[in-house]
């Protein structure tokens, strides 16, 4: 149910090591909101992986931010603007964010909300693993960045 202008979607399997970065990120972000009401501009959604129905979850939001673990990053995190892409997402049991945007535009026939991807560096993805030290440090850095970004987004010009 939409309550705020921004939707943050954190996805990944909580029991697969650094794949849990997305869900962990949402928990931390929600905790920050409880003591900083200036951050109260977002809704959150978590799932194991992205699928077509997430296109419908995006409907009505001004901005959507996807948060996911990423391997092969040369920095703790990367923030990039997303564009709809007719990407095959080769295991389409799990769509890529750009493919979700493409589904949105095909489904609703209108441009998708402004969307970004926050990729956070992870390195260990085995069943039963905890977050790695690298992931924890990267997550801290990404959290600070996104909190500032969100506050900037809602600040009056």
């Amino acid at each position: 149910m939409r309550k705020h202008p921004v939707l943050v979607i954190g996805y990944g399997n909580p029991s697969r090591g650094d794949d849990a970065i997305g869900p962990h990120f949402l928990e931390r972000l929600e905790a920050m909101r409880t003591w900083d009401r200036d951050l109260d501009c977002f809704d959150t959604l978590t799932d194991f992986q992205l699928q077509v129905e997430h296109a419908m979850d995006m409907h009505g939001y001004e901005q959507v931010i996807f948060v996911d673990a990423a391997v092969n990053l040369d920095r703790p995190f990367r923030f990039e603007i997303l564009h709809a892409a007719r990407d095959d997402s080769y295991t389409t049991h799990a769509l890529n964010p750009a493919a979700v945007l493409a589904v949105y535009e095909q489904f609703y026939g209108i441009p998708c909300p402004e969307s970004c991807l926050l990729s956070i560096h992870g390195e260990r993805f085995d069943l039963g693993d905890d977050l790695s030290e690298t992931a924890r440090a990267s997550l801290d850095a990404a959290l600070g960045f996104l909190a500032a970004h969100l506050m900037q987004s809602i600040s009056p010009v």
């Binding site: 399997n13 077509v52 673990a69 589904v103 489904f107």
Partner: protein
């Protein structure tokens, strides 16, 4: 016929083609083909390239955690694991019979899960192959292509999936990581408002389900020779069955039929499954190969999932689904339908059944009752079996006096289909590949055969940049002669 392709003579003299990973299936799978210089196939195998270690993950945990924690084994069918574990833990807490409300809430959750999973598989993963052909442009042969060319079909697929997710959200408390099924019952009651919310859409969902069966049948019948023979294998069929022979996805006894339709066993208490099913280990695969003990390793392989369930059941209790089941059985002239592509048709019959079954449960006054949990005397062993979207799913746990899991054995649906999937790709390789130059369409045919089973090869690990497709051509002496690489955006390039 295809057994001869499981292990090649003189493999060192053959070149190796790998489809790695197999696409549009869950998890990491790889197909390897060993071919001679004339492109004749000598060996075809489906490999699982990740050792999952589920049982180790579960051992040492308290029993009451099981229904929640096992959901994390799989991002595709977490509800099936949730419910199979809940059924096993019912036995651990000494409960044989749930309250009517608890059982119906669980059944409703299960039908929602089956509906969304079947919709995802048919509309999003398989319809691109079936609607556009196996040799269609890779960049078009996907759900976005279906949305562009067949918007009504694709929209129905998206909305069917979404409705199933809403049923799960209402019954499980959350769309993912639901916690409502607990040992001895459920912990979430369904309100009148929630029920009415789901009822508001259900007639449209049933209509779309009926249309989906029509589409699946049309796609099968349109090219009947191909549909009948593609990846065709003769196997035994295994599924749960209700006491009166009706299709039941949540509970029942085990029924196994031979290819000629005769019974191997019927109405077997699934807690005795170890007497009826054994698992064979092969040195080249992490995944085991189960077989019916009484028939032995050579003759005992079986299939599970929609094709097995629709073949095995005597009737379906909802009227629209029963009519299309009878049509399906009549089409196969009374014998078991063995065509691998008929999985899609059977899957849509089940989707219609789920839609009708949801409506029946939503009108059942027991659903809104508040008596949700039963207690009993603790037991040391619990076995839960359920018909998951991909087939029969076994959860078996043993606990110590402190309630800690000391042994766990899981046979997931895809493991039950392991031998059949391997046989199917050998059949395709045997029929299509011999002596011809490899093309992307031929490689996709292998994947089409695997996708018919909707396999869930692994869990929900995904990380950006981890899912390309690489095909290698390796000479008899092991040298890599050629490499094709398919990127996430669909572009194919040759790698130097």
């Amino acid at each position: 016929m295809t057994d001869s392709l499981e292990t090649a003579q003189n493999p060192e003299r053959l070149r190796r083609v790998a489809i790695d990973p197999v696409t549009r299936v869950e998890g990491h799978g790889k197909v390897t083909l060993l071919m001679d210089e004339e492109n004749r196939v000598h060996q075809a195998r489906l490999h699982i390239v990740e050792f999952r270690g589920f049982e180790k993950f579960i051992q040492g945990r308290p029993y009451w955690e099981l229904p929640v924690v096992v959901q994390r084994l799989c991002g595709i069918c977490p509800v099936s694991h949730h419910l199979a574990a809940a059924k096993a833990t019912d036995q651990l807490v000494g409960v044989d019979q749930l309250t009517p409300a608890a059982e119906k809430i669980r059944r409703l959750m299960h039908l929602g899960q089956m509906l969304q999973s079947h919709a995802l598989h048919f509309f999003h993963l398989s319809s691109p192959d079936l609607l556009f052909g196996y040799d269609d442009e890779v960049s078009h042969r996907n759900i976005v292509g279906v949305l562009a060319d067949h918007p009504d079909i694709a929209r129905q697929g998206v909305l069917l999936r979404k409705y199933g997710q809403e049923v799960i959200r209402v019954t499980a408390g959350k769309r993912v990581h639901g916690t409502s099924a607990i040992p001895g019952g459920v912990n979430k009651h369904i309100s009148r408002e929630e029920r009415d919310y789901l009822l508001g859409e259900i007639d449209r969902i049933i209509d779309w389900g009926a249309a989906a069966v029509g589409l699946a049948k049309r796609l099968f019948v349109e090219d009947i020779d191909h549909s009948r023979d593609f990846a065709l294998i003769d196997t035994n069929m295994l599924s749960l069955i209700r006491d009166d022979g009706a299709l039941d996805l949540y509970h029942g006894g085990l029924r196994a039929r031979k290819p000629d339709g005769s019974m191997v066993f019927d109405h077997v208490d699934y807690r005795d499954y170890e007497q009826y099913i054994h698992e064979q280990v092969k040195p080249w695969s992490y995944m085991k190969f189960p077989y019916i003990t009484a028939l032995g390793k050579e003759q005992g392989a079986y299939r599970v999932g929609p094709l097995a369930r629709i073949n095995n059941c005597g009737f379906i209790e909802t009227p629209l689904a029963e009519a299309v089941r009878a049509d399906f059985r009549a089409f196969s002239e009374g014998v078991l339908m063995q065509s691998t592509l008929a999985y899609h048709w059977a899957r849509m019959i089940e989707l219609l059944y789920c839609a009708e079954g949801i409506k029946v449960l939503l009108h059942d006054p027991d659903l809104l009752a508040s008596d949700l949990v039963v207690k009993g005397e603790m037991q040391s062993r619990g076995i839960g079996v359920i018909e998951a979207p991909r087939g029969t799913l076994f959860h078996h746990y043993e606990i110590d006096d402190n309630g800690i899991v000391t042994r766990a054995n899981l046979i997931v649906s895809t493991t039950n289909n392991n031998t059949a999937m391997n046989e199917s790709i050998r059949r395709v390789a045997n029929d299509l590949f011999d002596g011809r130059e490899l093309t992307e369409a031929m490689l996709n045919s292998i994947e089409v055969a695997i996708r018919a089973y909707d396999p869930c090869l692994s869990c929900a690990t995904h990380a950006l940049g981890k899912m390309p497709l690489e095909v290698q051509l390796v000479s008899p002496d092991g040298a890599v002669l050629d490499r094709l690489y398919r990127h996430m955006d669909g572009a194919i390039c040759q790698v130097d």
